[in-house]
Symmetry: C2
Subunit: 253 residues, 2 copies
């Protein structure tokens, strides 16, 4: 199934615009998992079992798995396999890749064929030919960074983020593009959404980063995807936390 | 040893500004390697044995290893280990990473502690706080993308590349910054080099991508690092090809 159909289906079935970020930190894992054979996969499996009827997507950030070496990346592969087998929820691999043509081709292959994600995040700095190999996987989703949720977005993004949105709108020949816009820029989100219409907009930065949930939901358009990571996954009761967030989002929709 | 000292030492000892890019493509590997137990590592080892007295750095691009899955990443780790054990040549991991603070921290850990590179390439789109975790590894080198060698650089980079150069100059508190500027922009390289002075500038895009070798060398400053990948590594005689390039660079210096 195409990523966008999978996203719409999960959002409709689970009545949810919530995406849970699977950002693993061994130091934060409850002790009981550390004694298991594969602590990371075991932790993720429990999370997925507890939340897969409450979310529209999962978003593992590959950095946290890579930082644990080969073993971490194996756990990532197992985690995505588990999501694909046990649920209908799409997986957005947060990788923020960006490189010249034939190298981008290798990254796209890794994201979609090795890690078997349904969508991936990419960095626009290198321009259209760096995104094309991703876009050519027509069934897959490609979320282009537009305006990020960290303080450093001011260094270079402010002068080009609207141009990024306009370009991505133009490059969306196969209907598989999305954008990433931080919840910390909920006002700018409104202008961006006007440019791209119903394109999925992945919105990280609520919760731990202090973004504005209400305006993110209201300004993010029909396919706003609200991401929360640490506030859900390290909660003593991730299911309750996910349910709470899903309801808040629903109330603002 | 600090990356920059390792770079200067290798450049002086080997009388070389040539960096060889270890961009592996199974389809291009000579047949004799495919029968070996670890074709990628075996191919790289032969290359390194044949060229380690001719280069100032090696630059594996992680994308090509990631595209081969766990096995490819294991070969990358073995390759860097081999370079570190058998030569004095520094390794620049071409990864073009860029993410928000705590995620960037994970990427920096992966690059320097898992893959054990001496330096890494990063993407400036997310600004200073996304680069800080890399820069805090004071012994390591951090090459920030400025102006890339692909056609797509025109989409977003032209309005900000000089600002990137100025910011990186300012962020260089520990003397461990570098820039990446494509050989296809040899004229712009002159302006960039004036801003950053003796900072190392990694210059890809000669060879297969058709960049201008002479002007790249002349405009790249004292620490220009000229990268060639496919034209050297898939040559029937990589040593002869590397020697030829090293001499050409020397003639233009």
């Amino acid at each position: 199934m195409k990523f966008i159909e999978k996203l719409d289906t999960a959002a409709r079935q689970n009545k949810s615009k919530l995406c849970v970020g699977l950002d693993i930190d061994l130091a934060k894992l409850p002790k009981k998992f550390l004694d298991l054979e594969d602590p990371i996969f075991s932790f993720n499996r429990r999370l997925i079992e507890k939340t897969s009827d409450l979310v529209c997507a999962y978003k593992p950030n590959i950095a946290f798995y890579e930082a644990l070496g080969i073993y971490g990346l194996q756990s990532l592969i197992k985690t995505i396999e588990f999501i694909n087998e046990e649920s209908q929820v799409p997986v957005i691999l947060d990788a923020k890749r960006g490189d010249v043509g034939h190298t981008a081709q290798a990254y796209a292959k890794a994201a979609f064929e090795i890690f078997k994600a349904d969508a991936v995040t990419v960095n626009p700095y290198l321009g259209h030919d760096s995104l094309e190999p991703f876009l050519n996987y027509r069934e897959k989703g490609v979320f282009v960074l537009c305006l990020t949720s960290n303080a450093g977005f001011r260094d270079f993004q402010t002068s080009i983020y609207l141009s990024v949105a306009r370009h991505v709108k133009e490059w969306n020949h196969f209907g598989n593009c999305g954008l990433v816009v931080g919840a910390t820029s909920a006002e700018e989100l409104k202008d961006i959404q006007k440019i791209v219409g119903d394109m999925p907009i992945l919105i990280p930065g609520v919760g731990a980063q202090g973004g504005d949930l209400q305006h993110s939901v209201q300004n993010g358009g029909k396919r706003a995807i609200i991401n929360a990571s640490r506030s859900v996954i390290y909660s003593p009761d991730p299911r309750a936390e996910a349910e709470k967030l899903r309801s808040e989002i629903y109330r603002f929709s």
